[in-house]
């Protein structure tokens, strides 16, 4: 069923009794052309673009829980393309362009809101670094504006501009950045892929990868074996565990990242703001809660929950940036597990195992990449060649020295 004002009116007249489920709940078939492991944002996006752009519809998405039960529903919903390095900028800009047309493409309201992403700077050196980043973005065709103190003050008068230690000197603004409704992104991709015949198979945990002569030919699952001509992994957070089923080790550590939401408030902040003197970012959901987060906890974890020191650190950053937040009560916090790669950048590539494709290493920045990740992964799976904007995301870049290290932190995942 196509969603439109006419279907809404028609259903209204019929008492909303004719709405159908947004996707089927099929049992797995014995064999597919492509098996996608992972029914999160990236896996579902891959399925949608395989079906819609490459005409490959004999596809199964295998999800161990329910669709969107992992990181696509655990992030802070920010979308942006303000990257510095040549390997990253065109990829994230493709993602931003796909966000801009996503709702029309999917016929689904993902509540994409280009409310602007503002990165604050607090020193001359940081201003120079941000000016460089903004110039790199503009050279790559991405929008960026360097703002001074007064321009930021006009936007966000309640910040602590005259902080003794970290006064706010200005910010780098990407107006096209913003946020999207994260669950709706997963649901929209799932519904669009389902409408083209892709099977979304839930409660189906992959327990093994079937190999014959060094080639992956199928998967063992909690719902029985399934054969696949191509097997695609999109299981960020658990990539090392699934790769180990095919005998692979990855340049990845799994870390826990926490996020937070406050009680619902009246409209207070109409963009996304990041603090430049610590790791902290904040925006406001359409429901009114302030959504914010900071650093990963910093140790290997699959627990989907973190510890108190990082919570304290995030709250301290919040207070340093915006003292008025001290009056706000926290409502919830939660954790998700991140594929922290060794250079802070993702991997979209073939693997040494024939027939096995890898989409991994998204660190804590995977949500904004969801459309482009699916788009480029589908391109790789369908054509065997990397998409032109994702050629740098190779698995062998670590061994060859072609790392993409935005932070310059080196092979230390908890510093990215």
């Amino acid at each position: 069923m196509r969603y439109s004002i006419f279907s809404l009116l028609s259903q209204t007249l019929q008492g909303h009794k004719g709405w159908t489920p947004a996707w089927r709940d099929p049992a797995p078939k014995p064999e597919y052309d492509v098996i996608i492991i992972g029914g999160g944002g990236h896996g579902l996006a891959t399925a949608h673009y395989l079906a819609s752009r490459h005409g490959i519809t004999n596809v199964a998405v295998l999800e161990k829980g329910y669709l969107g039960s992992g990181n696509v529903g655990r992030n802070t919903t920010i979308i942006r393309s303000n990257y510095l390095l040549p390997g990253n900028t065109p990829f994230y800009e493709l993602s931003m362009k796909l966000w801009e047309g996503l709702e029309q493409d999917l016929n689904y309201n993902a509540m994409v809101s280009q409310r602007g992403v503002l990165n604050l700077y607090h020193s001359d050196a940081q201003r120079d670094a941000f000016a460089r980043r903004g110039n790199a973005m503009r050279l790559a065709g991405v929008d960026a504006e360097l703002l001074g103190t007064e321009q930021v003050r006009a936007m966000l008068p309640y910040l602590d501009f005259d902080n003794a230690r970290f006064p706010i000197q200005g910010g780098l603004l990407q107006r096209r950045g913003g946020s999207a409704r994260h669950d709706a992104v997963a649901w929209g991709f799932a519904r669009a892929a389902d409408s083209r015949g892709v099977d979304m198979i839930q409660n189906c945990e992959v327990t093994g990868i079937t190999m014959v002569g060094g080639r992956a030919i199928g998967v063992e699952t909690s719902r029985g074996p399934i054969r696949g001509k191509k097997i695609a992994m999109a299981v960020a957070g658990n990539s090392s565990r699934v790769a180990a089923m095919a005998g692979m080790r990855l340049p990845i550590e799994t870390h826990v990242l926490q996020a937070f939401v406050s009680e619902g408030l009246k409209p207070l902040i109409d963009c996304v703001v990041t603090y430049g003197a610590g790791h902290f970012y904040i925006s406001q959901s359409d429901k009114g809660g302030l959504v914010f987060g900071g650093d990963i906890d910093g140790y290997n974890s699959y627990a989907q929950r973190g510890n108190l020191p990082v919570i304290e650190d995030v709250m301290e950053s919040a207070m340093a940036l915006w003292p008025g937040l001290g009056r706000v009560r926290m409502l919830r916090h939660w954790g998700g597990v991140m594929d922290m790669s060794m250079d802070g950048s993702p991997i979209i590539d073939t693997t040494p195992v024939d027939g096995l494709y890898l989409n991994a290493g998204w660190c804590y920045g995977g949500f904004k990449a969801t459309p482009a990740s699916g788009f480029c992964f589908a391109h790789l799976i369908a054509t065997g060649q990397p998409h032109p904007v994702a050629t740098a995301y190779r698995l062998d870049r670590f061994a060859t020295g072609r790392v993409i290290d935005e932070k310059g932190a080196g092979a230390q995942p908890n510093l990215h």
Binding site: S240, N300, N307, P309
Partner: protein
């Protein structure tokens, strides 16, 4: 999460800094192949389960510790000084 330092007793994890997997063996840089060195620098087992890892007690005794911890639930089963390991191991 609290780590029971063998020198200082049970302390909040905030006092410690994390490095990563404890049992990586650095190959001889002059003799090792590029692949072996890349493997040492970048590749990790990253288990969901028991993990031996290096922590530094920066707000305490300044000792490097090998902590055995379950990455699924953060339960710590052993904390030993890294120094106690055999000579030549990385720390």
């Amino acid at each position: 999460m609290r780590i029971t330092c063998p020198h200082c007793g049970a302390r909040d994890a905030q006092e410690f800094s994390y490095l990563g997997a404890a049992d990586l063996q650095r190959p001889d840089g002059m003799a090792a192949s590029e692949a072996a060195m890349a493997d040492y620098v970048y590749q990790r087992d990253n288990p969901a389960g028991v993990h031996r890892e290096l922590w530094y007690h920066g707000a305490g005794c300044h000792a490097w510790l090998v902590v055995t911890r379950d990455t699924r639930n953060h339960a710590i089963t052993a904390v030993e000084p890294a120094k106690a390991r055999k000579a030549g191991a990385t720390a």
